[in-house]
């Protein structure tokens, strides 16, 4: 009986932080001094140690007009995301796909109650942010993290040209 109670306590302690965790992400799209500027396509996802997609968090692409599949033509330019996940999805995906965003800092918040993060098992993961811009460049930044995270300390990475600062904060 005592052992059982101890297990119960452990179980509750073990699962509770995951259930309450919040993943917050700051993604900066830099302002670029170019003659022809188009907002970049951006994909944000979490993959496991085998590079398998564990959670798709966001895809920003050109959604315009009512025609089915409009704007999806250039999604393969997000080439890592396309390989790992995009090519198997039917766009748009509820809660993941949205329109492209302008230069500036964008804050995204995900609660573990959201289905994509709810399925994350404890372990080592990488957060990837990939950006591809028409007549511009393509860039991929990665942040490794452990799930569940024990401290709320933010992890910062800076892109070279197509992405500015990316900050991952996981609040246990």
């Amino acid at each position: 009986m005592r052992t059982f109670s101890a297990w119960l306590v452990l179980l509750v302690m073990g699962t509770a932080p995951i259930a309450a965790a919040e993943l917050s992400l700051d993604v900066e799209i830099p302002r670029l001094d170019v003659s022809e500027y188009h907002r970049p396509y951006v994909a944000i996802w979490v993959q496991d140690e085998d590079q398998k997609v564990a959670a798709n968090l966001a895809v920003w692409y050109q959604i315009r007009g009512s025609r089915k599949g409009h704007g999806t033509k250039w999604l393969p330019d997000l080439r890592q995301w396309w390989r790992r996940s995009g090519r198997g999805l039917e766009m748009p995906v509820d809660g993941i796909s949205s329109a492209t965003r302008p230069a500036g800092k964008h804050e995204l918040k995900f609660n573990t109650a959201d289905s994509e993060l709810a399925k994350l098992k404890p372990g080592k993961y990488t957060l990837l942010v990939e950006a591809s811009r028409e007549v511009g460049g393509r860039e991929l930044v990665e942040i490794s993290f452990e799930w569940p995270k024990k401290t709320a300390e933010p992890i910062k990475v800076r892109g070279g040209k197509e992405l500015g600062e990316v900050v991952l904060t996981i609040t246990p």
Partner: protein
């Protein structure tokens, strides 16, 4: 000069081995596509340089496009120019398309009144070609496959299923899922069966801008499989051939099989 050239073109249809120096290829505009109605346009040519059309167009008579459902899809806007042929394919379905030019040919030679005669054609036009009283008759068959693959969305396998004829490439790695720095593995089939001891030549495109062909040679193992680690992203040309006696045409004693594929290797 012109006659030799024409003879060579004819030989590509029948026996691609005759003109060793030239490469036969299809080159799709891209291999990984998305969107509501993606199209690919494909160049088809015979040349020394990869992938530059500067010699002869590849005839499109044997063009066969197999769609993701395994059914034949019609190519559009076919055109044969001075140096290349061109056609388009609308990728209306999701999945992988196999685009191939299949050349089935026949070669016959015989003696007639002390003179050596030669004939090239197809099984359909063979009837009555060899006159009565001909001696030293020799008949051979050829099957050549020149192909490439393109995918709308995620790669699928139905279009890649073996037809059981000639040399074919069976996927271990999907031909539209190849990445620089990674190893691609395939199985070669002859008449649908694994083909060991086959030598494959692999050359990356862009030969005009380097000093050497830099061709790699790999061999199939006991299961007909071979692997190659793609050094960088780009279009690659694979080629292999085989002579055997497994003929399908009556009285043919020899069979010449050839295969070439154009594969795109994507950057990481």
């Amino acid at each position: 000069m012109i006659r030799t050239a024409l003879f060579c073109v004819a030989s590509f249809v029948a026996l691609s081995s005759t003109c060793f120096a030239h490469k036969v290829w299809l080159r799709p505009s891209q291999t990984s596509l998305s969107g509501s109605e993606p199209w690919v346009t494909v160049d088809a040519a015979v040349s020394n340089d990869l992938f530059y059309f500067n010699h002869f167009p590849l005839g499109l008579d044997g063009l066969v496009v197999i769609g993701p459902e395994g059914k034949e899809v019609a190519a559009q806007n076919e055109s044969v120019g001075k140096y290349r042929s061109v056609f388009d394919v609308a990728l209306e379905e999701q999945g992988t398309y196999r685009i191939a030019v299949l050349n089935k040919g026949m070669f016959a030679s015989w003696e007639e009144g002390g003179e050596r005669k030669r004939w090239r054609g197809t099984p359909a036009t063979f009837d009555g070609v060899i006159p009565e009283g001909a001696t030293n008759v020799s008949i051979s068959e050829s099957i050549g496959r020149v192909e490439t693959f393109v995918t709308n969305g995620a790669p699928t396998g139905t279009a890649l299923e073996s037809t059981g004829e000639g040399i074919e490439l069976a996927p271990v790695s999907h031909p539209n899922d190849l990445y620089a720095g990674e190893e691609g593995t395939f199985q070669l089939l002859v008449n649908g069966k694994p083909a060991p001891e086959m030598e494959i030549e692999i050359i990356q495109g862009g030969t005009r801008y380097r000093n050497a062909q830099d061709s790699a040679r790999v061999k199939t193992d006991d299961e007909g499989k071979f692997s190659y680690k793609w050094p960088e992203a780009g279009m690659y040309w694979l080629s292999t051939s085989k002579n055997d006696t497994d003929t399908s045409i009556p009285n043919a004693t020899q069979r010449r099989l050839s295969y070439t594929a154009t594969l795109e290797v994507l950057p990481q």
